[in-house]
């Protein structure tokens, strides 16, 4: 029982950040009906930016050997600025890989490859500048305690402070995004564009601005997710790839383009991973994809989605 509770907490912590990451895919998919394969790269950029803003130095292998920024922000401020920076990168990705193709009405598949081209470029720029070594945030949470005991006694249930931070920040962002989409004028515009891009444009909505905005939000969410996952362990220039793939499993599970679905999907995958028995730990990485396959075959509209009628 105690073990189940502990695993559940661990799963929710990691699942909430999967949800955060996957929301970045979702918000772009809901509008453009394409998957932005550069999202994993933007996520990685967010991690590096946050790391640099905390004043930490880079290693010896890249072009910027031992360089560090002249500022030394605390983790929270660095997180916010790093996420905004990742948002800007998201907008640049849109400008380079999406807009030129959208203008011509090209096949969405081409956008998939062009966004991946940009992702390859971005990730390799990171490697070129900062090297291939692993980085980790130091004792960045200042005077906070390392862990909190949820259930005391002989067999305590312990939650690391970093897990709580991850969960709380993720949930705050999810709530903020839900508010933005459902309760504001901009959100109404985003929903209109998601419903039908052409009609929204005909009705006088500045669709290009909203598409840029969606990429910015997507980048911010990805950047925060990156810094949070980086906080929990270590990271290198490639660490967006694995989470990028897991994010695909999350959004399919939740139903492509479905915001509450992405949150539920993230939590389900996080918890499912946490409950993999220790002796099968090596197979943990396959869990999201087994889930993905099963969902696609049994319920392709996702757990919260409604089946769409195929019209001829």
């Amino acid at each position: 029982m105690r073990l189940i509770f502990q695993k559940l907490l661990n799963g929710i912590a990691i699942g909430s950040v999967y949800a955060l990451f996957a929301l970045g895919y979702t918000i772009v998919f809901s509008i453009l009906r394409v998957i932005n394969f550069a999202h994993g790269a933007v996520f990685t950029v967010g991690t590096y930016l946050t790391y640099a803003l905390t004043g930490a130095a880079f290693g010896r292998n890249g072009q910027l050997r031992n360089a560090s920024l002249p500022v030394e922000l605390n983790f929270w401020l660095a997180l916010v600025l790093g996420a905004l920076g990742a948002g800007v990168i998201g907008v640049i990705v849109e400008r380079l890989a999406f807009r030129p193709l959208r203008r011509r009405g090209s096949d969405p598949l081409l956008t998939l490859v062009s966004s991946l081209g940009v992702a390859i470029a971005v990730v390799n720029i990171l490697q070129y500048l900062f090297g291939a070594e692993n980085y980790s945030f130091g004792e960045t949470l200042g005077s906070m305690r390392a862990s909190v005991t949820v259930v005391g006694g002989e067999l305590p249930v312990v939650v690391r402070t970093k897990q709580i931070v991850i969960f709380v920040v993720s949930m705050v962002m999810v709530v903020a995004l839900t508010f933005l989409v459902n309760r504001t004028r901009t959100g109404k515009g985003l929903r209109a564009v998601a419903e039908d891009l052409t009609t929204a444009r005909l009705l006088g909505i500045d669709t290009d601005r909203l598409i840029r905005l969606s990429f910015f939000i997507s980048g911010v969410l990805g950047g925060i997710a990156g810094a949070l996952i980086g906080l929990a362990g270590s990271f290198n220039y490639q660490f967006g790839v694995a989470i990028g793939l897991k994010g695909l499993a999350v959004i399919v599970l939740g139903g492509l383009g479905d915001i509450p679905g992405a949150v539920v999907g993230g939590l389900v995958i996080g918890v499912a991973e946490a409950f993999v028995p220790a002796e099968y730990n090596a197979y943990k990485d396959a869990v999201p994809f087994v889930v993905l396959l099963v969902v696609l075959l049994v319920r392709p509209q996702g757990i919260l989605g409604r089946a769409q009628v195929q019209k001829v």
Binding site: A97, L101, Y283, V290, L293, L296, L297
Partner: protein
Amino acid sequence: MLDFLNSQGTIYVSMVLGGVLGLSLYLPLLAGQLSLASPGFYALGGFVAAVLSTRTFDVEGTYPVHLVLVEFVVAAVLCGVLAFVVGLAALRLTGIYLALATIAFVEVLRVFTLNLELTGGAVGIFAIPQPFGTQLSYLWLAGPLLIAAALFTWRLEKVRVGRAFAAVREDELAAASMGVDTTRAKITAFVLGGVLAGLAGVIAAHQINTWSHRQASFDASIAYLAFVLIGGSRTFLGPVAGGLFLTYLPEWLREQAKHEFLPTWAAEFLRTGRFIIYGVLLAASCVFFPRGLITPEFLARIKRIGRGGGRPRGQDVRQPEPETVA
């Protein structure tokens, strides 16, 4: 001259295999199926070769070529059966959903080969015996495979089965109502692609001497898709050209770093930053050549030039094809 060719042998063989892998993605696409499963079958074929040659066949000295042919048969059967099973389940999906399902298939396969003892776990299988003394000699296997696959694909588009593929691609419902067995057409196309990727894997495993789970990666899925889209997805020559060209590109960039006249920083960039250039070119070619480098119109123009005709007389009133892939 021969020395030069030999020193470049590895890359030539990889290029030819790139062409084969491009075709392995093109075949399902003929029936309108965007499958990114090729790296899975490629990895599986390689493991068949690696396991059979290091464990089953105990050979002293040079590895005989006829055993490679035996591996071909085993890999083809295994990949074919697996593709049939995966295809039965996955081909109910279309478009991006099918692409995601095949990505998931590749990942699941990768995690299993990472953990199974048979496939050498995380380090993979080492010291796979070589049937040839030089890298360039592998063209004796890879070359005929590419030529056979290309001829097969070319002919396929002209016979009944291939026309059924095209019908399914253009309009599945209409094809079904005309009596085309659409499920059968889709699965045939999927199995053909899987078998072809598996055969490429057999050669690659011997050629690069070691084989591990890393061969089945998402990056590879997209790289092969790029072969098709950048090369051109409307004629079988497109994926072949794309595979040859895009495999060569990073190597070519690295070669350029050796030029004396380059300043140090530029040479350094070409050596360690060449994948930045690769990524930029990938994105740029999507933007500037949305229909790929080799299109049916391009081929028609070459034919006309070949006949000495130049531009055709009169106005060409045909509508250009829309920029679609599948």
